[in-house]
Symmetry: C2
Subunit: 326 residues, 2 copies
């Protein structure tokens, strides 16, 4: 009922009387008054006048279903939302739902994440109300070896969304970071559960810095938020909705054509190409120049001895970007 009152206020845009709401939704005027108070407590700014009734002045920048869904033009991505004021890890939550057979498109979002993690179990911090922590369930009809390419498609969607909202020069640090001003703005964590030749599910987790004023000393050389970079605040819900909108569009293309339609964008947005890189993965560590991204989304690196290596994934350290340790 609270959601319906909110929708009613939102649609009318001007003052509506308690009587109108009460009649329209078939509840008592006392009930209307109670729900309005609840909305206020949740951060909605609602003017009340004994003559004119109620008017919605401003909605809080929350990542709840009520706030995101009016901004979505997707069919299935983000249409089921698990919303948490605070949670250990959105990826863990989505994994539970995945194992119970939930269809793709489900997202979990949290205002605060207390045990968020990045790749290889590294910690990722999501302080309350100023960042985005989101995980999404996908069930692509795909062989496991092609799953890394989904990370590239989501990275492209994130850059498109952020660029359209902010106008900033946002780049992809292949394979799974988004950078601004040479620092890390967003990390993407892709997990999969698969049999040898078929994916059961993929979970894309995303942690994005938005309105942090600044960062603690030990990470301020490597971390950036939209606000710490520009001094301006941004609406998190707008950014999240725009990412989901872009992603669904791109994911539909990906389902039919794979990653190849995105290679041009992946190259254009790349923070790596034509730079000196150090690649570390489970088996090896080597240095060279990032010269290309091939049609499968793999990074092509030319070593100093002229050998050319094709890299599916790994830790990348780039001269000129945060965390470069030659």
């Amino acid at each position: 009922m609270k959601e319906r009152i909110l929708e009613y206020l939102r649609n009318s845009k001007k003052y509506v009387s308690g009587e109108d709401i009460s009649r329209e939704l078939n509840i008592s005027r006392t009930a209307v008054w109670k729900y309005i108070n609840k909305l206020k407590e949740e951060g909605y700014s609602i003017e009340s006048s004994s003559k004119k009734g109620y008017r919605l002045v401003e909605s809080p920048d929350r990542l709840s279903y009520e706030e995101i869904s009016p901004l979505l033009d997707t069919n299935y991505i983000g249409r089921n939302v698990l919303y948490f004021d605070s949670v250990a890890s959105t990826n863990d939550i989505v994994r539970e739902y995945a194992q119970r057979g939930e269809p793709e498109g489900l997202i979990a979002v949290a205002e605060e994440q207390t045990k968020g993690r990045g790749r290889m179990g590294r910690r990722w911090s999501t302080p309350k109300g100023v960042a985005i922590a989101m995980s999404m369930l996908l069930r692509p009809n795909l062989s496991p070896q092609f799953v890394p390419t989904i990370t590239s498609v989501i990275a492209v969607s994130v850059v498109e969304a952020l660029t359209s909202v902010t106008g900033f020069d946002i780049k992809i640090k292949w394979p799974n970071d988004i950078v601004l001003d040479g620092k890390k703005l967003c990390g993407i964590l892709t997990e999969m559960s698969a049999e040898i030749d078929a994916v059961n599910h993929v979970i894309i987790g995303m942690g994005m810095n938005i309105n942090q004023d600044d960062f603690e000393d030990d990470i301020k050389d490597v971390a950036v938020s939209l606000k710490s970079y520009s001094g301006k605040s941004f609406e998190r819900k707008l950014i999240l909705a725009e990412i989901l909108n872009r992603f669904e569009e791109n994911y539909e293309i990906f389902k039919f054509h794979g990653v190849s339609p995105f290679i041009d964008k992946i190259k254009r947005f790349s923070a790596l190409l034509n730079n000196r890189v150090i690649i570390s993965n489970i088996n090896e560590k080597f240095e060279g120049e990032a010269i290309d991204i091939d049609m499968d989304g793999c990074l092509i690196v030319r070593l100093d001895n002229g050998d050319v290596r094709r890299v599916i994934s790994g830790d990348v350290s780039v001269r000129g970007l945060y965390g470069y340790t030659p």
Copy 2:
């Protein structure tokens, strides 16, 4: 305490008095008598004589820790055993433990599996006491794209174990079935949970037909057990222990050298090589001759037009084997 009495009986091999047991284990003679009765209920054949005491005549063919562990010479594979009289799916159980951080080597075994499944969610039947249902947790330090090769290493271990116990001509139907007499004896299901470039865990599930007398009409052309083939019964615990012994040895080699040391055996045991095959996977279906298995464990198929395809995994239908549908 039951386990310690069993061990005591097993080690002495002849009659031991209730008094000796009671003194040795520091429990009352009534307690000894109670535990002996419990063991009898569980299928242990124990002779009792008022003069001479107790003697273990025969142990049941169960897959419990007490029965398997005396047969193991492994260091970590099968040293932690989750034993179930009946369970929905051993893979599901092991997955729960995997997510809680259990180290590799854990196995779950069941006398009966009520919701066992094979690849792509297909049903797999494990009737009580005559088959083996076993799942094993591994944590290889591996990129996800190399996980399919673990299936080949376990398949080799199964063939080695079964051949040494039975002497029968056992083959591998690449990638994940074990065949006898052109019919399916054993299916292997490999599941993984992974990030893009690192495996969290791998679960190997195995369903093996041992002492079924025969099979129902709808599957008797495709299924075989050691007994339905030979008329003889086999001890399941011996076979399971031998598989675990062989596997640990092979897995240690695999950890350091990958699948290549196994390619010769994979070829020698192959039911596919030099046969006409039909390959179906998510993206395509094609027919040709299986001409080789390469150093990465991939099947090489020559199409009728002369093209050569490299197959990582897929459904394979082979002329002369069960389920061939041209």
